[in-house]
Amino acid sequence: MTRYLFGQVFSLVLTLWVVLTLVFLAVRALPGDAATIMGGIDSSAASIAEMRQALGLAATLGEQYIGFLGDLVKGDMGDSIRERRPVSAVLLDRVPVTLTLAAMAFVISLVFGLGLGLLAGLRPGGFFDKLTTGFATVALSLPEFWFGFILILVFAVQLGWFPVLGLPPTGLSLRSSWHLLLPAVTLAIPRAAQLARLGRARVLEERSSDYVRTARSKGLSAGSVGRHIASNALPGVVPLLALELGGLLTGTIVVEQVFGLPGLGATLLGGISARDYPVVQGVTILAVAIYVGVNWLADVTQLVADPRLRAPT
């Protein structure tokens, strides 16, 4: 058990270090730096050089890398160049929005997507089956941001049920989280489609297996058979769920742009445009941690859901 945990931690640290180094180099390979951006078109070369010096960007790549790693080991992600305050504060401000959005989208895609898929698989050729196939085709062919605009047009502009922007100016609170429903649905649609197709496929697989025939011939009700099928179909879906959560995070970048949400996606985009290296690095750290964490959670869930995996070999 200790060896397993140690292995997990080591793998996390290694992944983090490799990804961080790549991002560190990639973002500095972009032409222009924060001083260039801040200087804009109205500053002289001399004042841009002054700003570069004041921001610590004039140091060599090696010096910056050592400085960055050294601070990171002490738990310091540095200060955002653009916001002139600690990166940790910047991320802390944005994480709740993205997490709430992702969580809502995850639940919606799980309930509707998987639910739809299971129902479709249990009655092939039936109403839900046709609905699922149609929905999945449409949802996976059209771009996410298009759904976002349509939802805004219908529910915010025409019906006035929702505000146009994802959050009120006072930010995220329990009361304002319903504002996130439109962006969460937008985010959920492609994942729901994937889960629907997968759920349907898994159920169809299970339907043709021996134990189902046995159960039916024993005279078990359709409902009981259905429950057996579903509980056997689910473990196969778990790995995809983990991947989906990762996909949700990247999806938030687009959705946050459309709905003007102050989340991690907006921070990352803004950080890249402004060449705010510490922020880009900080978001990377967070993203890697989340991905690795979610995959670990998926592994554990798999173990719990499928007793066969727990048996010693």
Partner: protein
């Protein structure tokens, strides 16, 4: 009697409710910081305008009028300026006095602050504070542009006690302005509340909320649902929608923008003025203005249309492809000459203009290869040391003083076009030092003539500034040339 009291109470309650107005404005760009001394971004000053005040400010007609300095005067030799401060306080309660002005100016002049506008105050040799309400600024040479610099957003006066403490003005601004900073939720909104003790009279709005909405389509939607009262970016294609809606108004007013296609005069063939003139003649600037920028007034040199500094006798180049081809032949430009045109991705209008330029140039045998690049890459290519471009399209915002626009032109290393002409450079430098306005007009006029002849740019013109608001919003205005937002007299009349 009781009825009268009841009515009076009810009336004041209703009036009280009616006067608690909040104006929500949608802005596409976001400030990088609210510290006026460490940025040059227009978006930053658009917001900080409401929080801080300057010694002098720009009125709606473009003239410089008293602000925190109730009266001001310059000495005859132009080497010292005296400002007499009004009695007012900062939002933290500390009264405004001459030490605040001195501390503010010293900070923007300090190397450690690394202000992009530091050079505008370089001529200041000393700041005297003979008493609490008087400031005397001494210069090493006459600088007629000083008032313009002090009227700009970066001339905002900061409280000296907070300066001494190293206060973080970037995230928690404290000024004397008409609105008090409440909160800044990054990528979301900035909330300001009215300053009831504002020295020019308390604003009628109780609150201003500035929301950051990068997408013009969403800005329009918000305007339609009433979520936004003013929207600063409306796509040209949507203007008709706004104009045809009685609840909305499209505001078009003169801007100070000079739209140009800059040429890298260090490059082969582009170093020849005949080639640059030919390129000007090959492009129909009026059509480019109409199609890409929804109209505007053409210009013939590097100064916005309608500027008092623009000589009357400078004609735009006009459209003459025949003459263009003749000049290109004369200069020995081979047919099919290929040039590199990077265009800035965030600006659809510039991209469209660039594509039109490419079409026009093809007609005269020049092959312009377009690269649409991200803003940071564009800045690095065009303004960075590499100067990796042949031609590009951009707009230069208006400046309060011609020196703000023209400084550096004529000195190869100081302007991105690499335009090198010692005579022009000397005229511009003299103009910056000349205290007599009539002589300045002459000096700059001559320089602008020379710039027209040398044609380092294709001169397109000056478009109108356009933004949309709900018709019920009145009294909101955008500062001429500085383009900052002024909410001090704004109201919403339902």
């Amino acid at each position: 009697m009781k009825l009268k009291i009841l009515v009076a109470v009810a009336l004041s309650a209703v009036l009280g409710l009616a006067s608690a107005q909040t104006l929500t404005m949608a802005m596409a760009a976001q400030p990088d910081t609210l510290d006026p001394q460490v940025t040059s971004a227009t978006a930053a000053f658009q917001v900080s305008k409401s929080i801080y005040d300057t010694l002098v400010e720009v009125a709606q007609d473009g003239t410089i009028i008293p602000a925190l300095a109730g009266t001001f005067s310059a000495s005859d030799d132009g080497l010292s300026y005296t400002f007499n401060l009004v009695a007012t306080s900062f939002h933290d309660g500390t009264p405004l006095d001459s030490t605040d002005v001195k501390a503010t100016l010293e900070r923007i002049m300090a190397e450690g602050t690394a202000s992009p506008k530091r050079s505008e105050f370089a001529a200041i040799t000393g700041i005297d504070t003979p008493d609490e309400s008087t400031v005397v600024i001494h210069l090493s040479q006459p600088q007629p542009a000083l008032l313009a610099s002090l009227a700009s957003g970066w001339g905002a006066i900061l409280p000296s006690e907070k300066l001494a403490e190293g206060h973080d003005f970037g995230n928690a601004p404290v000024g004397t302005g008409a609105f008090v900073f409440q909160s800044w939720l990054r990528d979301n909104a900035i909330t300001l509340s009215a300053n009831p003790d504002y020295y020019k009279g308390a604003p009628q709005l109780a609150e201003v909320i500035i929301r950051f909405v990068p997408d013009p389509a969403i800005q329009l939607q918000g305007l339609l649902t009433g979520e936004f009262n003013v929207a600063d970016t409306i796509a040209a294609a949507d203007r008709e929608l706004v104009e045809s809606n009685p609840a909305l108004t499209m505001v078009e007013e003169p801007s100070g923008l000079a739209l140009v296609a800059a040429m890298n005069t260090r490059r082969p063939y582009l170093s020849d003025p005949r080639v640059r003139q030919a390129i000007n003649l090959a492009v129909d600037s009026i059509t480019v203005l109409e199609v890409a920028y929804a109209g505007g007034t053409p210009i013939g040199t590097f100064m916005e249309a309608g500027s008092p500094w623009l000589p009357d006798d400078i004609e735009p180049y006009g459209y003459d492809p025949e003459q263009a081809r003749a000049l290109l032949d004369e200069a020995g430009v081979p047919d099919g000459w290929t040039i590199d045109m990077p265009l800035p991705q965030p600006y659809d209008a510039h991209i469209q203009a660039g594509q039109m330029v490419q079409d026009y140039l093809r007609e005269v045998g020049i092959n312009a290869e377009i690269r649409i690049v991200e803003w940071g890459v564009w800045l690095s290519d065009v303004y960075g040391e590499a100067r990796a471009f042949d031609i590009t399209v951009i707009g230069h915002t208006g400046k309060l003083d011609p020196s703000g626009r023209l400084d550096g032109y004529g000195i190869e290393s100081e302007n991105y076009a690499g335009y090198d002409d010692p005579v022009t450079a000397e005229l511009i430098a003299q103009g910056a030092r000349e205290p007599d306005t009539a002589k300045r007009v002459e000096l700059y006029g001559e320089a602008l003539h020379r710039i027209h002849d040398a044609a380092p740019f294709i001169f397109f013109g000056t478009p109108a500034r356009a933004y949309a608001k709900q018709t019920s919003v009145e009294g909101f205005w955008i500062t001429p040339l500085l383009d900052s937002f002024d909410f001090r007299t704004a109201t919403i009349n339902d």
